[in-house]
């Protein structure tokens, strides 16, 4: 039986959509916060229309994307343009500790909503707005998504091979960076309010979060005039270092050998001639002759499975890891040990899997105990049990089209 969760009692009115906002509130929901996701029938959360779908059948309650970032949450639908919408929003803000949105800057305020209004309803409300480049500044309104911001933030330039153009560092990377910083900021603001009674407004720019990761390179440029670019899988700290082809289709093992472990590595790969080869005798030589060294290593790995290479090397204290695809990740024994993937039974999708966060609290761990909600599935529960409407009043709201 799972123990009590750390954030039980924390209440979030969640206007977020897509990835950055929902992923931030996922951290909260996973640890027991009550997160009410405010969607509308007209404009369901955009990730609901992203493949992959259960059984390859599209549907707004069948998207794997949506489920990954929305487990444990409640979904209500609210027509934000309905005359009675404001009455409901007032109740939601009155109930909530935290309210958040991540629309393009200006969208929320054009709906008549925002921190100025919310703090009149609830003076100590904590509100966050997450956006690509912040609520202010000349580029604030410029539309875009994480895959593009990732390029603006410098990650694309740093990924790929020196003899070619850059490649995508897979995914809308800056969404994930922003979501994590956002979760941190929200939790810290909650503590500040606990101590002082004061809420506040958090303006999070995913761009400003993302460039934190590249600080050393920014300093390098401003001080030394050096502009770092992509170097494939090169390293100056390990040699050999890279990914090496193994047996099978598109199977690779990453290997990183420290200077101290070089003799052990040679012994393991039966490289009698390797340990005596002057081209590879020292770290400097190995780095200088890295292309030949990589070929030599690959002549060993290509006859073995990636799993065998990894376990042989790790047993000897040498860092190695299979380059895992989706199937590998699903079958990963360490993920299984950590119960990283949770099997959930979704109302429409049936049995499927979602991921947990990357940390475990020893006394009050987070769990995924409820599948991601179907659109508006919790209308009745939220409106009657949380917002205090009677069943008759709830039916009236439905009839008036407020919950669309």
């Amino acid at each position: 039986m799972p123990s009590k969760k750390a954030l039980e009692g924390l209440k979030v009115a969640d206007f977020t959509w897509n990835i950055v906002g929902p992923l931030a509130t996922k951290y909260l929901a996973e640890h027991g916060a009550t997160v009410i996701k405010i969607e509308s029938q007209d404009r369901p959360c955009v990730t609901r229309t992203s493949p992959p779908y259960a059984d390859n059948t599209p549907g707004i309650n069948r998207s794997g994307w949506f489920t990954e970032w929305n487990t444990n949450k409640y979904s209500i639908t609210l027509n934000l343009k309905h005359p009675r919408a404001m009455e409901i929003i007032r109740k939601l803000i009155g109930w909530a500790d935290i309210v958040g949105e991540n629309f393009a800057p200006g969208v929320f305020t054009r709906l008549g909503l925002g921190y100025e209004l919310f703090r009149q309803i609830k003076p100590d409300i904590i509100m966050f707005s997450a956006s690509m480049q912040g609520q202010t500044g000349p580029h604030s309104p410029h539309p875009g998504f994480g895959m593009q911001l990732s390029a603006l933030s410098g990650f694309t330039e740093l990924t790929g091979w020196p003899d070619r153009g850059p490649v995508e560092f897979y995914g809308p990377y800056t969404d994930f960076i922003g979501a994590r910083f956002l979760a941190v900021a929200v939790l810290a603001a909650v503590d500040y309010r606990r101590r002082t009674g004061k809420g506040q407004y958090l303006d999070l720019s995913q761009y400003e979060c993302a460039v934190q990761y590249l600080s050393p390179l920014l300093l390098d440029c401003s001080i030394n005039g050096h502009v770092q670019t992509r170097l494939g899988n090169q390293s100056i700290h390990y040699s050999p270092h890279g990914v090496y082809r193994c047996q099978g289709e598109d199977r690779w093992c990453a290997i990183a050998v420290t200077d101290a472990k070089w003799p052990d590595f040679c012994r393991l790969i039966n490289g009698k001639e390797l340990i005596n080869d002057p081209r590879f005798a020292t770290l400097l030589m190995r780095i200088k002759n890295r292309e030949e060294l990589d070929k030599r290593v690959e002549s060993w790995t290509m006859n073995m499975s990636a799993e065998t290479v990894m376990s042989m090397l790790q047993k000897e204290g040498i860092a190695a890891g299979v380059v895992q695809n989706g199937e590998d990740v699903h079958n990963d024994p360490q993920f299984a040990h950590r119960e990283h993937f949770t099997l959930l039974n979704h109302a429409e999708m049936g049995k499927h899997t979602n991921s947990r966060v990357a940390f475990r609290l020893s006394k009050t761990p987070g769990y995924l105990d409820r599948p991601a909600p179907c659109l508006g599935q919790d209308n009745e529960y939220v409106f009657t049990s949380i917002l205090g409407y009677s069943t008759e009043e709830f039916v009236e709201l439905l009839a008036e089209g407020v919950l669309e």
Partner: protein
């Protein structure tokens, strides 16, 4: 011991930061939000001080830009916790601390008598945050980790790179940074609970899982459709028929990203781009007559996609990154340059937001420009209060003033390399 404090989000709290390069960013984040963070290094300095780049390209443990970047807002002491005196001093510091951050191998601290159970007896409030490659237990518990290993086992590498080349990582390692922010979240979730109950706990962070957390949809494609998402380099590739279209494009002086999506997502953008191209006589009839609302590259064959891409490619090649970005902003085209460090430093948006903070480095007789706050908070603005510490910079403040060690004792500890 609970303190009150209203200067910043985490002002009353004290952090002992034992992390190496795998976890430095965690302590910096807590420090950015006002906590007092004491970086505890081995005598002589942490090994992360050897990581470049370096100030004026001079490798030196007091000039590592990596160290500077991820240790702002921290004080610094030197302490050998493996020695009896060092261990005892550490325990005294724990008695008065709220968080301990570490990234040693699983079991290492326990072996020194400093595991969570021992720390809890000293201070039941203590929250111990441990960052390791794979977690405190399990079949990979004792595996060695580096950035490339974590990116591989976490699943991200498989999906990154050109299809005709090996999988590739980001040249500047990302795994530890993601784990460090994840650790900060875990610390604050535990903190919320601790302030209600008075009890701390152990937060077990996995770098491998932190990487899995940035893989977007790798696991759900396998889980739901038994498809392995494959790397596609600078393209989007349809898994059913291998039709591909560019989304990273070369231009006159570099590269840019522009996704050719029609319909709701991108019709306006494509329309605006066509108009711009037409103004410069570079739009083909195909583009000018295209119904972008209905455009769905998923329904086209390769030669049809190529016919759309070719003129766009020529147009991009005739302009610089700066020209294209400026035009994109004016015309609301979702186009972004592939930026490098210079472009980021020159960003008008970041300047307009007062993002950069100048920090004095008296020891270098210089002041350096750092990224500023990761969030703009109206009541408790984040700021950089101090630059990264020099080796043992706050030994005197902590050992002498705070712990009351005598000058003689400090000298003995120093000469025996315990501090």
């Amino acid at each position: 011991m609970s303190r009150t404090g209203s200067e910043s989000m985490l002002s009353p709290f004290r952090v002992l930061d034992l992390t190496d390069h795998k976890g430095l960013l965690c302590g910096k984040i807590l420090g950015d939000m006002g906590a007092e963070v004491i970086k505890v290094e081995p005598p002589g300095g942490d090994s992360a001080r050897c990581i470049g780049p370096f100030y004026k390209e001079h490798p030196d443990p007091e000039k590592s830009l990596f160290w500077f970047a991820f240790n702002t807002n921290k004080k610094g002491i030197t302490l050998d916790i493996t020695r009896a005196d060092g261990c005892e001093i550490f325990k005294r510091l724990v008695a008065d601390a709220d968080f301990v951050l570490e990234s040693f191998d699983p079991g290492y601290l326990k072996g020194l008598g400093l595991g969570y159970e021992e720390l809890r007896l000293i201070n039941r409030r203590i929250i111990l945050v441990s960052i390791t490659g794979f977690g405190q237990s399990g079949p990979y518990r004792d595996f060695n980790v580096t950035d490339i290993i974590a990116m591989a086992l976490g699943g991200h590498m498989y999906m990154t790179g050109d299809p005709d080349r090996p999988p590739v990582r980001c040249t500047f390692g990302q795994a530890y940074l993601n784990a460090s922010v994840e650790a900060a979240i875990g610390a604050l979730v535990a903190h919320y609970h601790r302030e209600l109950t008075g009890d701390g706990q152990h937060v077990d962070v996995s770098i491998q899982e932190s990487v899995a957390g940035i893989t977007l949809d790798q696991q759900v494609w396998w889980d739901l459709n038994r498809i392995n998402v494959k790397r596609a380099g600078a393209f989007r590739i349809r898994p059913d028929n291998n039709v591909r279209h560019r989304f990273i494009w070369p231009c006159k002086d570099g590269y840019l990203v522009f996704v050719m999506i029609g319909g709701n997502w991108g019709a306006k953008s494509l329309g605006a781009l066509t108009k711009w191209m037409d103004e410069e006589n570079m739009a083909t009839d195909l583009l000018k007559t295209m119904d972008w609302e209905k455009f769905d590259w998923g329904k086209l064959l390769q030669d049809e996609v190529d016919a759309v891409m070719a003129p766009i490619g020529y147009f991009f090649m005739s302009h610089t990154k700066a020209e294209l970005f400026e035009g994109a902003i004016k015309r609301r085209i979702t186009l972004y340059p592939v930026s490098n460090a210079r472009d980021i430093l020159d960003s008008v948006q970041l300047k307009a937001r007062d993002f950069w903070i100048k920090m004095e480095h008296p020891e270098l007789n210089d002041s350096l420009i750092y990224p500023g706050a990761f969030v703009k908070a109206t009541e408790t603005p984040l700021t950089l209060r101090c630059r990264a510490p020099l080796i043992g910079e706050h030994n005197s403040q902590i050992y002498s003033s705070r712990l009351g060690l005598s000058d003689q004792d400090i000298r003995i500890l120093k000469e025996n390399r315990i501090i």
